[in-house]
């Protein structure tokens, strides 16, 4: 198996930025974290109207969004064939004629995200593309299987070739305020992942309050998470703008305090090109340009790509497009 390191460098944070080593659990900082829900909701509501891109800028931003997608298949009925199809789509996310018209040949998605059993299939299917494979792990999505097995699962996925591990945290530690337990768990998961980079899924829809989201974000970063991620996509409420703002602000505070840059991955519920543009504008406004690269920002999405393809088709041809004119993943 060969890996194109120059490509990988663009995707993996541990290669482009100094990797977050974590720090001792600072409970005082955690206790001070605040998130005023109504004020955050107001900012989130006004954000989409405050920034916009048109014409070529919009096409470029949509291509950027594609390059940031963790193209995802997380269903009980996934098969090797289904995953190979997904990987083919990751290599060629947009019809070649459209990419040629845009001058964006070679555009791929940021990664492919699958269950452990599908890691080897995906790694083989993506061989030579430089597209990393992310595995959801640790008893995804509930995170309630035996702790020993959850840790072991990480190691197995890494051994199978996953270079990114999306772990789920134990929501009960957040809901009971047991920050030490959350910190310890996260530290061990990070350790188990070795050189693979770790995205901590907070499952924000199950944390009860934005303040809990802020505090859980800080604890996971202190324990060495490379990315923090909103949701598994399986909770009743997944990525929302208020939740994302809360996590982004925690990332900014962590960088201010430690100097380390942590990535962000909203997942679940982002299915429209327009929403993706809002997220990109939010990252640019709140954290700056470095968070518009795949090493610090990903979308966890499956149906988003289809909408972006139609928008790009419209940009190139001037006609509104239809789904059947774009190849399935």
């Amino acid at each position: 198996m060969t890996t194109d390191l120059t490509r990988a460098a663009a995707q993996l944070p541990q290669l482009a930025h100094p990797r977050n080593p974590g720090m001792a659990l600072d409970l005082e900082w955690v206790a001070q974290a605040q998130a005023n829900a109504p004020a955050i909701a107001r900012r989130a509501a006004s954000l989409p109207a405050t920034r916009g891109v048109k014409k070529d800028h919009q096409a470029a931003w949509l291509c950027k969004a594609i390059s940031l997608i963790d193209l995802t298949a997380l269903s009980g009925d996934d098969t090797p064939g289904r995953v190979r199809r997904l990987c083919a789509k990751a290599r060629q996310p947009v019809r070649p004629d459209l990419l040629a018209a845009l001058g964006m040949e070679g555009l791929t998605t940021g990664a492919v995200c699958v269950y452990h059993e599908m890691v080897e299939t995906a790694v083989r299917a993506l061989d030579g593309s430089g597209i990393p494979v992310a595995a959801v792990s640790t008893g995804f999505p509930a995170g309630l299987s035996p702790y020993r097995l959850r840790l072991a699962e990480i190691g197995e996925s890494v051994a199978a070739g996953a270079s990114e591990i999306d772990i789920v945290i134990s929501r009960r530690h957040v809901l009971t305020g047991d920050w030490q337990a959350l910190y310890d768990e996260m530290c061990q998961m990070r350790q188990a992942a070795g050189s693979a980079h770790v995205k901590a899924i907070l499952a924000t829809g199950e944390l009860g309050s934005l303040r809990n989201v802020a505090r859980a974000s800080l604890v996971c970063m202190m324990a060495g998470a490379d990315f923090i991620k909103t949701s598994t996509g399986k909770e009743p409420v997944n990525a929302t703008l208020p939740v994302s703002l809360t996590m982004i602000r925690a990332i900014r505070d962590y960088q201010d305090r430690t100097g380390f840059r942590i990535g962000f991955k909203p997942a679940g519920g982002i299915s429209k090109a327009k929403e993706a543009l809002v997220y990109l504008a939010m990252m640019k406004e709140e954290l700056g340009h470095p968070w518009l690269q795949p090493d610090l920002f990903r979308f966890g999405a499956s149906s988003l790509l289809g909408d972006i393809e139609r928008q790009l088709d419209h940009h190139v041809t001037g006609c509104y497009s239809a789904a059947n004119r774009h190849p399935l993943g």
């Binding site: 001070q32 605040q34 998130a35 005023n36 829900a37 109504p38 004020a39 955050i40 909701a41 107001r42 900012r43 006004s46 109207a49 405050t50 920034r51 916009g52 891109v53 048109k54 014409k55 070529d56 800028h57 096409a59 470029a60 931003w61 291509c63 950027k64 390059s67 845009l102 001058g103 964006m104 009860g208 309050s209 934005l210 303040r211 602000r249 900014r252 990109l280 504008a281 640019k284 406004e285 340009h289 518009l292």
Partner: protein, 772 residues
């Protein structure tokens, strides 16, 4: 740049909206617009150019209003108003509802035109202002519908003059025109010299809503046009929004005219950030409330000392990200200003202040019309820029140590418009919100408005409210004809051969809970109708007024007592007066020559009225479309100066004093000039009724001498005049300096308990958002 280059750069690129629709409307009028009078555009004789502040390009020419134009507009309004007022509330509601719908249906056109003339970002016009405009007309359609049942006994004022500023012309138009029309008034609107086009467009559209000609007239022009309108004798009310300076001039101009007046004036708002606040949200609040939305005035930022550096760093970083430029571009946060703020003056002022640090990410562009916001840190309250009015997008920051100190610093200001409090501690937020001297307090928010929630200031920020039932009431008056001014009564003449009194009784002033001799050492003999010497009334002077106000200000703890507690004191006062009813009745008969029993009984009843109100007056929760509670809280104004009527010397005093103190005010009363001894006797009732010292102070003397001192005293928050002497012009002119509320009554009949209660409270709006 190619898509691939842009893929790397990830810049926003231009995203401008086309102004074509708005320009086409201007073009449809040939680029020249006359006044809108009697439902039609006139032909402008002398016109001046309106320029787009963002480009300098001339948008249109509009007429310079003359005194004759103003007269034509007022005349048209007067004719139209009679019929408009006679319509049922339902008929008026239909028109207002149609206006609300028209605003919605033409929101893009209205927003574009407002952005062209004001230079404010289209997003602000379209997303922030226009929905509020539509909501204001819709809400007041509702009030028009309910006016007969909700406001019984009240009728419209007549022709109302509205004079509005440039920063949000459509919103200001709605705030004045919607309630005025809903109440049955006709309006002559004078928009800002810089931004008259939206008002003319609105008038043009109003035809489609079936608004009868003359009910709304628009006269364009400069300050001279506004002055002519304000001075016009056909105007029953002046509603002004704008600078404190012009507000003060208008207060003086209408003094003594009998015109109703509301002033919505500026003044720096206050933002208080406590250590447990969500700092990022507080930063956004400052951006939203101070640095964007075309603020005409800056803000004072009070930040708890321990986190000030962190907060200022976050705020500076956020300011740097603000985009200044083409107001029509979707990505613009700050557009161009039609009037150049004096930011350079502030910058020089800061440069000369040791320790002060100025943060200004970009110098003003294009002749100062595009202004980057400024943050000034390291100032102390004594710095000139903390005290002055702060023009434009400027935040002036200082620190505090404790909540009490934050409140003290916040209230250490001439202004009292809006404040916002940032803390995650709910009880702290409410405690601070209750103590702030501001017409509007936002908890963990800024810049929230709604038609149902009153907006307006205290102190130099003016008086009167826009929005809510309390605001609507300002566009109505009692249906009962105002009685003619009571004749000035003369004291009983001294007899040629005075009879000696049994034992000499020396009446004194009552100040700070003590009977004191007048500063000037003079007294006046008071005779009975039969020529008996009843005693000597002290002649108070300006120093006595000063001492009395000082005592009243020192007694502000009274405001913090419970309504229940105040009611107990008032009932006790009634009890003590009742116990001495015969004595007071005899005194009244001696003073006025008419039997006094009925007056004493009426005074006791008024004390019961006030006690009842003290224990039962309620605030309201507003039906604003807002997740949380929007509360209208009635509270005391502070120190009220009261000149009592000549007639009914006991009832006049009690009718005004009792509601004032029932609501938590303290007061300085100047009793009936011809018959002062009923009041000096009443001191003894006060002394035995457990009223804290200084809550009520009595200074007898000549009204004409004492009124200007009382009305001009900066420590007096409101002045009421029921004197038989014609003092309204003098009082209203003198009250202009600190813009205290004034209430000129023409007889005791005016002082119905409900009306006195309305005058005795200040309604403040508190916004408390909810959410997890």
């Amino acid at each position: 740049m190619s898509v691939r280059d842009l893929f790397t750069a990830m810049s926003y690129g231009p995203a401008p909206d086309s102004p074509a629709e708005a320009l086409a409307w201007i073009e449809s009028h040939g680029g020249r617009l006359g006044h809108w009078i009697d439902g039609a555009f006139g032909t402008p004789d002398t016109a001046f150019a309106i320029a787009n502040p963002a480009t300098g390009a001339v948008l249109a020419h509009v007429a310079q209003g003359t005194a004759a134009d103003v007269d034509a507009a007022v005349t048209s309004a007067r004719h139209a108003q009679t019929e408009w007022a006679q319509r049922s509330g339902h008929d008026r509601a239909r028109v207002l509802y149609a206006l609300a719908r028209l605003v919605q249906k033409h929101s893009r056109l209205l927003a574009l035109l407002q952005t062209l003339e004001t230079g404010k970002p289209l997003r602000d016009s379209h997303d922030a202002d226009l929905p509020l405009v539509a909501r204001h007309f819709s809400y007041h359609a509702g009030l028009a519908q309910l006016s007969g049942t909700e406001f019984p006994g009240l009728v419209p004022l007549g022709v109302c003059a509205a004079v509005i500023p440039w920063h949000a012309p459509l919103r200001m138009l709605a705030w004045k025109v919607a309630p005025a029309l809903a109440a049955g008034n006709a309006v002559v609107l004078k928009p800002s010299r810089q931004t008259p086009l939206t008002a003319l467009l609105f008038a043009d559209l109003s035809r489609q809503a079936g608004l009868p000609p003359g009910v709304l007239n628009v006269v364009t022009g400069d300050g001279a046009t506004g002055a002519a309108l304000v001075a016009h004798p056909g105007v029953a009310k002046v509603a002004f929004a704008g600078s404190t300076k012009v507000g003060r001039q208008i207060r003086q101009a209408v003094a003594g005219s009998g015109k109703a007046l509301t002033l919505m004036l500026g003044g720096a708002s206050v933002v208080i950030v406590f250590e447990d606040a969500d700092l990022d949200s507080a930063v956004e609040g400052v951006i939203d409330g101070v640095f964007t939305h075309h603020g005409q005035a800056g803000a004072r930022l009070l930040v708890q000392e321990g986190l000030a550096d962190r907060f200022h760093t976050k705020l500076r970083r956020r300011i740097e990200r603000l985009r200044i430029g083409d107001p029509l571009d979707k990505c613009t946060d700050i557009g161009a200003l039609p009037a150049r703020p004096e930011l350079d003056r502030i910058a020089h002022l800061v440069a000369a202040t040791p320790g002060a640090e100025l943060f200004r990410p970009a110098p003003p562009l294009a002749d100062g019309r595009f202004c980057a916001p400024m943050l000034i840190t390291g100032l102390s309250p004594a710095s000139a820029s903390m005290q002055d009015e702060i023009p434009g997008p400027v935040g002036v920051a200082t620190t505090f140590r404790t909540p009490a100190e934050a409140v003290e610093l916040a209230n250490n200001s001439r202004h009292g418009l809006a404040a916002s409090v940032w803390t995650e501690n709910g009880s702290l937020a409410l405690a601070v919100a209750r103590k702030l001297k501001a017409g509007v307090v936002w908890i963990n928010a800024t810049h929230q408005f709604d038609a149902a929630a009153g907006f307006g200031g205290l102190r130099d920020s003016g008086f009167g409210r826009d929005g809510g039932l309390e605001g609507f009431r300002d566009w109505l008056k009692p249906a009962k004809a105002v009685p003619p001014p009571a004749p000035r009564l003369a004291p009983m003449p001294a007899p040629e051969r005075p009879k000696a009194p049994d034992i000499d009784r020396t009446a004194k002033l009552f100040i700070g809970g003590k009977q004191v001799r007048p500063d000037g050492g003079g007294s006046r003999a008071v005779w009975s109708a039969q020529g008996r010497l009843l005693g000597h009334a002290p002649l108070g002077n300006r120093k006595d007024i000063r001492n009395a106000v000082e005592a009243a200000r020192a007694a502000t703890g009274w405001a913090a007592t419970s309504g229940y507690n105040r009611a107990q004191v008032l009932y006790y006062m009634a009890e003590n007066l009742s116990a001495r009813a015969e004595e007071f009745a005899a005194r009244l008969r001696d003073l006025t020559g008419t039997p006094g029993e009925a007056e004493v009984e009426a005074a006791i009843c008024r004390l019961f009225d006030a006690a009842a109100s003290a224990g039962s007056v309620e605030g309201r929760v507003k039906p604003a479309p807002f997740d949380g509670l929007v509360m209208a809280l009635p509270g005391p104004m502070g120190v009220v100066g009261i000149l009592c009527p000549d007639a009914a010397p006991l009832l006049g005093l009690v009718s005004l004093m009792a509601p004032a103190i029932a609501m938590g005010n303290t007061c300085v009363l100047v009793p009936s000039e011809p018959f002062p001894l009923a009041a000096t006797d009443f001191c003894q009732v006060i002394e035995t009724s457990d009223l804290p010292a200084g809550v009520v102070n009595l200074v007898t003397g000549a009204h004409r001498d004492l009124a200007p001192t009382l009305a001009g005293h900066m420590g007096v928050d409101a002045v009421w005049c029921f004197s038989g002497a014609d003092l309204s012009a003098a009082i209203e002119a003198a009250s202009a300096e600190n813009l205290k509320r004034s209430w000129i009554g023409t007889g005791c009949e005016d002082a119905s308990p409900a009306e006195v209660l309305r005058q005795a409270v200040e309604i403040r709006t508190v916004w408390a958002p909810a959410g997890v």
